[in-house]
Each structure stands twice: as structure tokens, then as C-alpha cells.
Amino acid sequence: MDSYSSYLLRIGDNALILGQRLAEICGHGPVLEEDIALTNISLDLIGQARMAYQRYAELESDVKDEDEIAFKRDSHEFYNCLLVELDNGDFGMTIARQFFFSAFQVPYLEALTQSEDEFLRNFALKSVKEAKYHLKHSAQWMVRLGDGTAESHDRMEESVNKLWPYTGELMIADELDEKARAWGAPDLLEIKKIWSDTVERTLKEATLTIEAPDVWMLRGGKQGNHTEHLGLILAEMQFLQRAYPGLEW
């Protein structure tokens, strides 16, 4: 597997794992509209993962198709950041996780639309339109819950502070991120500036405070070292194909 293929997995895995997390909410949303909204976002993300995995399957002869990539890898072979695999928690936690991720994805994909790599450029042109809606949706809820009742404010504040140490990893460049610059991937320090601006502005409007903004940022997911959550996600997501290999609906 070459570096370009690894990078496709990194992009696809972030989308698939967050998409799978949101899919857990199907039928369990706090209100019908939000149940539908979160599962629609899930669909967008799983669609994005599918595009990246299909491209991977075209390039790598050891896999047949996108399903094999999603269902036949173990947790150490997934390269998503830790943030997207964390528990859904309550609705506020789910929204905060989405907000932190979408605030990254929008400027990241916007930059990627300038890539000279045909797949990455087309992938970004398609996905960025959706990501903007995800950001708009989650930012509105951040404000509504943060600047809402005393209860919603407290729970939201707890969520953003719990998630905060997981937000840095998205924008900490490793060797592969550096290599990806050659394919038009952006400088993650530049993305971090835009991300911080969006986050600061929204948190302020939502009357939310991060207690320790400079805390050590947890990392490892991008290199295949995950929290215990990922194994549980995969156990459920992969069960059918592991138990009945090749099964089709």
C-alpha cells in the first residue's frame, strides 16, 4: 500500500466511523427532525467514505471493493482520528463532536478543491457542499443549547470540555499529512487558524468556555492506535460480514 492509498483510508475512515456513530442514533433521536437530520449527515459521510474506498480499491489489487475495506479490517488498520470514534453521549455531546469535526472538514475540503489530483479535487468539490450544511446545522445547535436553559448550558459546557483534548489531532500533521501536500492537501496549521476562528466565535455566541484550552492533545488514531471505543463500533458494524462472509441483501 503506498502513501497515497494510506491517505485515502485516512479520509475515508474519518467519514465512515463518524457516519457509523451517527447511524446509531437512527430511531433514537431526541425529536423526529433531529433523528432525520443526524442520519442524513450520516448518509453523507458514509457516501464520502464510499468514494474514497472505491478509489482505493481501484488502486490496490489486494481488495475487491469498498465493502471489503469497511468490513474486513481490524481496529489497528483504521486511521480515523480519535474524536470521531467517541461515544455519542447525550444529544449535546453528539452535536459538539459534529461541530468540532465539521469546523475542520469545511476549510480542509475547501482547500482540497484546488488539488491537482483529479480524484481528491472532485471528492472535495462534491463533499464540501454537504459539509457546509453539517457545520451550519451543528453550529446552530451549539448556540441554541449553550445559550439555552441552565441545564442545557451546563451539559453543553461539560461536553465541549470533555471533547476538547480530542480536537487537536485533526490538525496535528504527521509524516503522511506532509506527504499529502504534494497531492494538494492543505497545510494543517492554516486549517487550524480557520478552525480556531470558527470555534472561538461559535463558543462565544453559545456562552461556552473551554477551561483548559492548552491541555495536551490526545492523538494516535491517525496512526492506527485507537481508544477502546473503535473495537466496539467495528464489532457491531462488521458483524454480518464477519459471520457470513460475502452475504448480500
Binding site: G19, E33, E34, I36, A37, N40, I41, S42, L43, D44, L45, I46, G47, Q48, R50, M51, R121, N122, F123, L125, K126, S127, K129, E130, K132, Y133, K136, H137, Q140
Partner: protein, 164 residues
Amino acid sequence: MSDTPDIANKYIEILEKVRDPEIPVLSVLDMGVVRKVEETATGLEVTITPTYSGCPAMDTIEEDILHQFKAHGFKGTKVKTVLYPPWTTDWFSEEAKEKLRKTGIAPPDHSISKADLMGKDTTATCPRCNSKDTSRISEFGSTACKALYKCHACGDPFDYFKCI
């Protein structure tokens, strides 16, 4: 590939029969999902593009296209999916918008721009009573491509096709 689909007239009639499974008042041509029909040595090659990345209707649309061409005697037809140019609601014809309105879905009422996505709430016109006194209930409606609105004049909720 340009923004205008490249489809010979003789295939239009066949493709008109392929409906969007989630919005059956529209054909895949009204939607702008079919971009091209090419004649190759082994049969036709139909190029389609998804509305949204995760649009669950794409597989059904592909099967329906293959079925229709087969029923019209075309053997060996293939369907190819492309991502570029990315689908946009700007591709809806006026006729398609009218069909949406008649079925109770507010069509996208303006052209796509950055401001629409990031800026203020878009306004939607009620497809039933034409009132502009409406408000958004949810950014996402019955499908990923629609938002849910409520009309304050006639009191009905309605789907709004988001500009993308």
C-alpha cells in the same frame, strides 16, 4: 464534461421513464442525474452523477436505467458514476420546479452561492399557498436534499429542496 447533459433525442424518451425513486414526479432527466449517453462497441454507456454523496437512490436508479434500456432492446448497457461536475440544484429546469411545487415540495428558489450556505437563513415559498411567511423547522427533511419548513399563512409543514 459540461453542465449540459449530452444525450441524443432517441434516448430521452427511454430515460423519461426512469423516475427518481424518492421523488417520483421527477424523472432522472428532470433531476439532471443523467449526464451522458454514449454508444460504444459493446453497448450503451450511461453516465450518472449522485445528488448527494450518500444518496441511497443511486443504486435503484442504476438498476432502473439498465432495466429500461433492456426493455427497449439495448443489450450490454453499462452505467458509470462520476463525481464531476458536482451535481447542483441549478440544473433543475423550470418545468421540473413546477412539478415539484405541484407535489408539495418547494423548489430551490434561487441560484447557488456561498452566502446561501454560510450566511443567513434562506427563505422558502410555501408550495401550497405561495406565502413567503415561512420558517425553517429543520435543516434536514425527509431526504438529505431537502429541509423542513413550516408555512405560517396556511399552517402546513412542507419540504424545501435545498440549494446546493
